[in-house]
């Protein structure tokens, strides 16, 4: 008996629906059909009236969740793809993110964004938008990289009083498996050292944690030991854990699947340069997707995003600097 990253997301929702009558799920094709990726499969049958099909109206989906949250509910909104959340951006960044600041009334909504690419997904079904949402004060942005985190962080996202952008990576849905779910996760705003190493720190999150771990295995063959920090939550950012790692390794490489300009990597590097410049023996580096729309062709796509080989090569250059 194993459980996948996708099943963990479903189990977290099932548990939240079971334990908390304030929880309901709203999204396109999520009731009878069980969601485009089956993240809500069978939940409508198990919880009648609480897993609701929405019209193709992302703005209204999020707006209604905000209104319901004000009235004491804990809505989960499933975006069919992260890319489509851009239609709801006004409700997310202007209404939800500012509500507590403006009124002292909390906005406990969770917006699930099936993020990232798969071969053949193209420019509008592959985006990673965590940097965009992290820019806006008032939002929490989670980017779980493991099955356990997918489960415990989603439960935490539903439980906390602030609006959470929960970026679940589609590439991990069925590729990650564990034997059983953990019940006790790390605190959600704490980064995790996913691999211990002495020679350089690779900071990553979501699916890129696994590419980085794979790169670390390649580096090990050259006797380079990379430490991998999984940010888990990118807003707020756990700079302390990153600094502590850089203090041990003196070298920083940041890896993200989103675009480079003004992103999470840039923020991590800026924070380390500001607060830990004295810790660095080499200029901090970053690897992102190419600064173009995401290509459809699997051939193009395979080199558009960072791979373990590219990460390993950058790490070697940084080690030799």
């Amino acid at each position: 008996m194993t459980i996948t990253y996708l099943e963990a997301i479903r189990e977290a929702q099932r548990r939240a629906l079971r334990d908390d009558p304030r929880v309901y799920i709203y999204g396109q094709d999520i009731a009878t059909f069980g969601g485009a990726f089956k993240a809500t499969k069978n939940l409508a049958r198990e919880f009648p009236g609480r897993v609701i099909d929405a019209p193709i109206s992302e703005d209204a989906m999020v707006g209604s969740a905000i209104g319901a949250a004000i009235e004491g509910m804990r809505p989960i909104v499933e975006m069919q793809f992260a890319d489509f959340s851009s239609v709801a951006i006004n409700q997310i960044v202007n209404q939800a993110a500012t509500l507590f600041w403006r009124t002292q009334v909390a906005c406990p909504i969770t917006i699930r964004l099936p993020s990232g690419g798969n071969p053949g997904s193209g420019p509008f079904h592959s985006q990673n938008l965590e940097s965009l949402y992290a820019h806006f004060p008032g939002l929490v942005v989670m980017t779980p990289a493991t099955v356990d985190d997918a489960y415990t962080m989603l439960l935490e996202a539903i439980a906390i009083d602030d609006p959470v952008i929960y970026c679940e990576h589609k590439y991990l849905y069925n590729r990650l498996k564990v034997d059983a779910l953990t019940e006790a996760g790390l605190p959600p705003h704490k980064a995790r050292v996913a691999r211990i190493g002495r020679d350089l720190t690779i900071v990553s999150y979501s699916a890129m944690v696994h590419e980085s771990l794979s790169a670390a295995e390649q580096l090990k063959r050259g006797n380079i030991e990379a430490e991998i920090v999984d940010l888990r939550t990118v807003k707020p950012l756990d700079v302390d854990t990153v600094l502590a790692s850089v203090a041990r390794t003196s070298r920083l490489l940041c890896v993200g699947e989103s675009w480079p300009w003004g992103g999470v990597n840039a923020e991590v590097i800026a924070s380390v340069a500001t607060h830990g410049f004295h810790l660095l023996d080499a200029p901090p580096q970053r690897i992102n997707s190419k600064d173009t729309p995401i290509p459809f062709s699997p051939n193009l796509w395979s080199v558009h995003k960072p791979s373990s080989q590219v990460i390993a090569a950058a790490a070697r250059r940084l080690f030799d600097w």
């Binding site: 019209p55 707006g63 209604s64 209104g67 319901a68 509910m73 239609v87 705003h189």
Partner: protein
């Protein structure tokens, strides 16, 4: 709190119409008085940012606020001073918010018309038009989950706001969910400076109700009696399970978009046409014609309104402004998140 805010209001019944009309009129009068004061404070440089007034729309707005019942929800828009007061907004909230007072409902973090008391079902608008419709709809979804089958929600929009995608999405969603939502469209002929002819191409906005699959109503926004009747009827329909209601009220914005705008573009022929009547003057005449009040009585109400406004301004002006050194600078409600956010 809502109950205490609304306790001044009586039950709505046809036999009580004169009382109802007088109540709604007094809210119009108070709103006009509040807004005239806001205008003069703005001209005196006492208010930062814009001042947006609802002159000419008080009848529509007051009817909405007056006809809602305790426990209902209200999402007003920029020209809804009358409805806000009728729904229970304390006058002092208006001035505290415009002054950026620490004591106001937004604590100086937002200003002018962006105020509300969400816990009391009074939702604060953001500047993006149409964005509040789905929020009120969602609050009604929550009420349905909680087994509240009696509450309705009302929200306001203008002719310009109906052109937004957010408005369309929310109307369609509310119709699909059959929510007890009353959407009141005030067609005041201008969105900032843009006339109806550059805003929409259908002959009447109420025709859109058919497309959404909901009930539509039209009213003369310069006639308080018509507004009370039509809004009251729409609210009863919503409360009785007939789904969302669209009400279109016709009037003219008798002021600029905001106080900086002298509305030079306003078509003078509209001002001289029935739609350009001042609803407050129309209501005064109606009160006298029906012998529900005479000029002396109306003058004394005006005096009371002026006194109430002056008292609120006097208090609000003496109160402390928002202070950077006392601001938490924290946009998060969750303690652990707030702590993590403030680390660096």
């Amino acid at each position: 709190m809502l109950d205490t805010l609304k306790e001044h209001r009586g039950e709505v019944a046809p036999s009580l119409f004169p009382d109802l009309y007088i109540t709604a009129f007094k809210w119009m009068l108070l709103a006009r008085t509040v807004e005239e004061k806001l205008g003069s404070l703005w001209r005196a440089g006492k208010i930062a940012g814009g001042v947006y007034l609802g002159k000419g729309q008080e009848a529509i707005s007051s009817a909405v606020g007056t006809m809602l019942k305790p426990g209902d929800l209200f999402g007003p828009l920029i020209r809804d001073q009358a409805g806000r007061l009728a729904f229970g907004e304390p006058i002092i909230d208006v001035f505290r918010t415009h002054f950026g007072s620490r004591t106001g409902p937004t604590m100086g973090r937002d200003g002018n018309v962006h105020r509300g008391r969400p816990r009391q079902g009074y939702f604060p608008m953001i500047s993006h038009l149409g964005a509040l419709v789905s929020v009120v709809a969602g609050a009604l979804i929550a009420r349905r989950f909680k087994g509240d089958r009696t509450a309705i929600g009302a929200t306001s929009i203008g002719d310009g706001g109906t052109s937004t995608g957010a408005f369309h999405e929310a109307m369609n969603m509310a119709a699909v969910e059959k929510l007890p939502l009353v959407v009141v469209i005030t067609n005041n002929r201008y969105a900032y400076s843009t006339p109806n002819s550059r805003q929409f191409a259908c002959s009447d906005l109420v025709d859109r109700a058919l497309g959404y699959g909901l009930e539509g109503h039209t009213m003369d926004g310069t006639d308080l009696a018509d507004c009370l009747e039509v809004v009251g009827n729409a609210m009863e329909r919503a409360r009785s399970g007939y789904g969302p209601q669209m009400v279109v009220g016709h009037c003219l914005r008798l002021t600029g978009h905001a106080e900086h705008d002298d509305a030079f573009y306003l078509d003078k022929r509209l001002l001289e046409s029935p739609v350009g009547r001042d609803c407050l003057k129309v209501a005064e005449s109606y009160l006298c014609k029906q012998k529900w009040a005479d000029e002396t009585q109306i003058e004394s109400w005006k005096k009371v309104a002026k006194q109430q406004v002056e008292e609120s301004v006097a208090i609000a002006q003496c109160e402390p402004q928002a202070d950077p050194s006392e601001e938490t600078w924290c946009p998060y409600a969750t303690e652990s998140v707030a702590k993590a956010h403030s680390v660096r």
